[in-house]
Assembly symmetry: none
Homo-oligomer: 219 residues x 4
């Protein structure tokens, strides 16, 4: 009896594994297509073709094409969360700006992809069926925001108490810089620059952000 039990549970586990693997295959294919076919539309057929998974199967995993895209957005935000946590750990271990670096590194690692994700979000917003997904996204984002703020708070208290500067604004400005840096990185119409250099520049700006006395009056 035990054997049979083992057998069936093993089978179920195996199937679940396969299922999950296929789901990832779909997501990976979609991500790849999104990046590589900047002008062409990413169709479900193409995803099926590229992931070597039947078109119908895709709809076993995702009710809607948009759900795939929403999932990609969410996963990107989740990934950020993980990296922030790891960054905080490293911060506690002595690396001062590890956490905020993690933020920028996550978003700037693949600027094209981050940009794409933003475009997707703009496109999908307002689609009724995606309301729960967006709720999830926003929940995760708020958590990440809180995490980020916790870093700044610590930085601030370490420096000579300037609590009067709204905390959120720092996070916002931080986000704004990343946002801009990405666009910048991608924008083909600017003079060609050493983007790596620029990115470092911006990361450093941010690292010291909110500390300069210059901004005190602004808040």
């Amino acid at each position: 009896m035990k054997k049979i039990y083992n057998n069936s549970t093993r089978q179920i586990r195996y199937k679940k594994k396969l299922f999950k693997a296929r789901e990832n295959k779909i997501l990976d294919a979609t991500r790849a297509l999104l990046i590589n076919s900047l002008n062409e539309t990413v169709t479900v057929s193409k995803i099926a073709l590229y992931s070597k998974i039947g078109k119908g199967t895709i709809y076993k995993h995702f009710i809607t094409k948009n759900e795939i895209l929403a999932r990609i957005i969410i996963d990107h935000e989740k990934e950020l969360g993980k990296k922030l946590s790891m960054g905080i750990k490293r911060t506690d271990e002595g690396q001062p700006h590890a956490a905020s670096r993690a933020y920028f590194e996550h978003r700037l690692a693949e600027p094209e992809f981050d940009s794409l994700v933003q475009k997707l979000e703009k496109e999908l917003i307002g689609i009724d069926d995606l309301a729960p997904q967006f709720e999830e996204l926003h929940t995760i984002r708020k958590e990440n925001q809180i995490t980020l703020n916790s870093i700044f708070k610590e930085n601030l208290t370490k420096s000579e108490g300037r609590a009067e500067v709204c905390l959120d604004y720092h996070h916002f400005a931080c986000w704004a810089l990343a946002q801009g840096a990405i666009e910048l990185y991608l924008n083909k119409s600017h003079y060609q620059v050493d983007t790596e250099h620029l990115v470092n520049f911006i990361i450093k700006i941010d690292s010291t952000f909110g500390i300069s006395n210059k901004y005190r009056g602004a808040s």
Copy 2:
């Protein structure tokens, strides 16, 4: 005889005027639709309906729907150029940060629209038929960049010479902040904030941008 000649030129001028007016009608309708139908697609039919111009006629003005969109992007950038020039004039007349303010005010005046334009640009990039339009766009953008840099240069020389900081980076950072501010303004998932306040905050950051000693080491 002369009268007739006059008549025909007058007529030609009149027709040109009408033609130009219709073109603007189309562009205005498209812009209005883009802003008001954030989730729905903006189709040529809708543009025709909204602008009260026949669909066929639209194709007398623009060979392609994408050409309309490209035109909107270009116009937005051209408008920026005009405002920058006016800003510089005011700067010369004594208002110190008028030019860079003009930059931000242009982009943040209608954040939704600016954001939309960016999305459009991402979508249209890589479409072969639009190559000349993109070239035009990039030309204008470079001019605007030069204009902006000229402001910073002046600011810098007024301050105690820190020429070692790459000029372009300042423009980039400036752009980045605007970019981020727009996204921020639009993003519904952040804690509700007094956006006007925030925007002012960012504009002020930028106004003093590139002057702080903090960034010297970054470049």
Copy 3:
């Protein structure tokens, strides 16, 4: 000026005519396909192919495939209305059962088609977007019912007053007979019979329907 006016109105009329003609083409093609492809599904593509009208054009005339089908149902009921009116005229002119004959002849003229229309109605009922169409259908049907009842009423008053028999029931029974006759006509599983003969049989039954004393107790 008059010429131009004439020209444009003529043009508009001509276009409307063409438009209407195409609409009929679509409906005719659909009807033909419905009858001739009893097992296969009637797809929009097939309608387009058969009517030699572009698939897209069809959607200029009907918002939905279902709308085409609904229209066919409604047209069938409308046609009945016309024939009933003509029948009543003939009744008034001396042909006693002309009206009720019209009813049966309409429905039994093309039993396959009548049957098909009934199947369609069953399929389409409950589809939300078709609510107005069904309302229209029901309105027409009620009018037809009233028309039919008016005939019976006359018949009844002419005979020795048996007002106690619910009028509607007569119409119902009449309809029931037609309904059954059609099914019968079509049903391939019955012994082969001289259907024309049968149809006449049923029409005659109905003609005398509601007059026999036999049914008095039934009501």
Copy 4:
């Protein structure tokens, strides 16, 4: 050894029983779904879900979805046969119209379902793979027809011999009434009537059907 043999036969019987039970489960689920999802399509997946039997297993019982449906049609007709036989028994025991009542009661017991079955038959007719099923259906139907006719024959001979009226026509008319009554019962577009009352009315009409002198000339 015998015991083992017994065991295995018992097992086989048990398995056959289970198999049969599953088959019924499938059919019952399908019937239930057909009735309850008037507008939505009844898919094999839904049948599997509702019957709590794996989709694959269903295809162990029926080669085709259509086969399930055909089976439902046939079963409905078989059931009618049983009820007719019982009716005849009761007729012989003194209840004069028991048999023809049985006919109507069978079909009007669940008008929705009877109507559905008819729609199904229309849809499935002409599908090649279902030829044997339809043959079976027609065989059963003929038997039922003969049964019904036997009743009428008896009635007729009891009355003053009107053999000249084609027997089949009576059966047909009877069927026609049932058919019509069902449609009537279901049709939402008629004035609201006391349907129970109406059904009784029709049953009574039929009970006396074929006896009235009125119809003699019709044949």
